[in-house]
Symmetry: C2
Subunit: 297 residues, 2 copies
C-alpha cells in the first residue's frame, strides 16, 4: 500500500480520511470524532486513530472543514470573496508531536456583505472546477447549511447559505411536527411542498403548522407529511435563492439522495442541473492543493 498523501474532510460531527496513491484513494477510514467533540490538543490523536495504521514514513496531510474553525485544531482565517476557492499559499500548517504527520488545513471563505461563511465547501467548489475546467456559473451544495455559489473566471464571486437542512432536522425531530412524521416518502407531497413554498414563501410558518393540523383533521400520512416538510423547506430555499438559479444551469454538489431532491425541485422550475459527487469533489479539491504543494517544492 503506497500512500503519497492523506486527504481529510473534518467536519463538526465526523472525520473522514483517505490514503491517496497516484491513481486516487487506496484506503479510507473515518470516525465520529468531529470538531464539535474535540479540544485543540485532542485532534492529533483523533487523526492518528484513523490514519496511524497507514503511516510508514512522513506524509503530507491536507484537511478541510470545521477543523480550521476558531474552535478547531488551529484556526485557518477565512479568505474573503471574490477569490479563488482555494489557495495553496493560504494553507495553515499545524505542528504535530508525531513527526510523520505534515498537516495543512485549508481555510474557508467569507463574504462581507451579506455576511456569510463557509468551511469545507470551498474545497468542493475547487474540486468541481478542476473536474470541469473553465466552468462559469452557479453551484449549489445542499446540506445542513446549503450553499449557493456563483463562480466566474475561476473565482467565487458571491455565495449565500441557507439553514435548510438544520431546519428540517429540528422541525422533523424536535418540534410539535415530530408527532406527525413517519419514515417513508411521497413524491407528490414533496412536489406540493416545493410549489407552495415557492408560490407563497411568506406563509411558511403557518404552512408548517398545517402539517400538524392536516394530520389531526385529515389523517395526512406521516410519510407524506415528512416529504411535504422537506419540499416546503427546499422550496423556501429556492424562493430565496432565485437570483442564483433563474435562467441558469446549476451544478449540484452533495449527497446523492439529497441532490436528487434539489434536482427534482429545480426541474419543476425548468432549471437544468448536473449532479457531482460531493466526495469526489472534496478529493479533487484537496488533490489540486497537494499537486500545487508538490509543484512548489
Amino acid at each position: 500500500m503506497a500512500i503519497d498523501w492523506i486527504a481529510v474532510d473534518w467536519g463538526t460531527s465526523n472525520l473522514r480520511a483517505w490514503g491517496m496513491g497516484p491513481g486516487g484513494p487506496v484506503v479510507q477510514g473515518g470516525s465520529d470524532r468531529g470538531m464539535g467533540s474535540l479540544k485543540p490538543h485532542e485532534f492529533e490523536a483523533a487523526l492518528l486513530q484513523v490514519v496511524g495504521p497507514w503511516l510508514t514514513g512522513p506524509v503530507p496531510v491536507l484537511a478541510c472543514g470545521m477543523v480550521g474553525a476558531r474552535q478547531g485544531w488551529r484556526e485557518a482565517n477565512y479568505r474573503a470573496v471574490p477569490c479563488t476557492p482555494t489557495d495553496p499559499a493560504a494553507l495553515v500548517r499545524v505542528p504535530t508531536a508525531d513527526a510523520r504527520l505534515d498537516v495543512r488545513i485549508a481555510p474557508g471563505l467569507s463574504q462581507d456583505k451579506p455576511a456569510d461563511v463557509m468551511r469545507g465547501e470551498e474545497t468542493q467548489v475547487a474540486g468541481a472546477l478542476s473536474l470541469h475546467p473553465g466552468f462559469d456559473g452557479v453551484m449549489c451544495l445542499p446540506g445542513t447549511h446549503s450553499k449557493w455559489v456563483r463562480v466566474s473566471a475561476g473565482e467565487v464571486v458571491s455565495f449565500q447559505t441557507f439553514m435548510t437542512g438544520e431546519l428540517f432536522a429540528l422541525l422533523s425531530s424536535q418540534s410539535v411536527l415530530r408527532h406527525s412524521m413517519a419514515e417513508g416518502w411521497d413524491d407528490d407531497a414533496f412536489d406540493a411542498g416545493v410549489a407552495e413554498a415557492l408560490a407563497r414563501p411568506e406563509r411558511i410558518a403557518a404552512r408548517l403548522f398545517s402539517l400538524r393540523a392536516e394530520g389531526l383533521l385529515h389523517a395526512l400520512p406521516g410519510s407524506a407529511a415528512r416529504a411535504r416538510l422537506s419540499g416546503m423547506l427546499i422550496g423556501l430555499e429556492l424562493a430565496g435563492a432565485k437570483p442564483y438559479w433563474l435562467g441558469q444551469a446549476v451544478k449540484l454538489i452533495g449527497a446523492q439522495a439529497l441532490s436528487a431532491l434539489y434536482a427534482r425541485a429545480l426541474a419543476a422550475q425548468a432549471v437544468m442541473t448536473e449532479t457531482l459527487d460531493a466526495t469526489a469533489c472534496t478529493l479533487a479539491g484537496l488533490g489540486r492543493l497537494h499537486l500545487n504543494l508538490k509543484g512548489a517544492k
Copy 2:
C-alpha cells in the same frame, strides 16, 4: 374562602387553576404537570394536587387547553369554524373518582381549509368578546403557536396558526445560532429583523444563517443577534398574516412582554393594537361558560 367554581387552564407543559368567588379569583395554584407528561388516568390526581386543598364540597371545574386533546384527559372534539368561540352545550364532562369534582372540558376549534386547530385560545377569544361585547375584527394571540383570528358577529370566522414561538425556541437554543445568542435585548436589532423579514420573507433561511456569520465576521453582540432573530421571526409571521392585519386594528391577547413586541412590530406597519391580558381573557371565557351552565340549571 368561598369558592363557587374552579377555572383551569391546562396546557401541554403546565396546569394553572383558580378558585373563583363571586368577584373573581380568590385563590390560585399550578404545577408543571401539563398534558404532555400525563397519562389519562393521572389527570385527576394532578388536578387534586393543586385544587384539593380548596375543596369543601362539590364544585364545578371548567377546563380549557390541551387537556381536551386526544392524548389528554378526555378528548373534546374540535368544533368547526365558523362558530362561536365556545359553546356550553359542547362541554365534555369527565367522570371522576372524587365526587367533589364536577369537571367539564371546553373543546377547541378546527378549520377545514386551510387545515388548522386551536385548543385554549378559543376560550381567550370568548373571554375577550365578553370583555368587549360586540367586537368585530382581528385578534392576534402570540405564543409558541401564534394564532390570528377573524371575529365577526360573535363568531370565529377563520384563523391561522404560525409556529413563530417554537421556531424561536428551537433556533435560539438548539441550532447553530445558539453559539451567537446571549441574554439581553436591542430594540434597533429587533426592528431591523422585523423590517427585513417583512420586506423579503423568502430569504428567511439565509437571513437566519447571517446571524451566525455576522457574529463570526463582524462581532455582532449576542443580545443583538437574539433580538434580531426574534424580529425576523415575528416579521415573517406578519408577512404571512398580512391579510389579517392590513388596514385593521388588532387586539393582542398574550403575555405582556411578547405582546409588546408584536405591538411594536405592528406599529411600524402603522397598525394600531390594544393588548388584553391573556389570563384575564381565559378567566373571562371560562367564567362565561360557568354562567351559562348555572343558567341552564
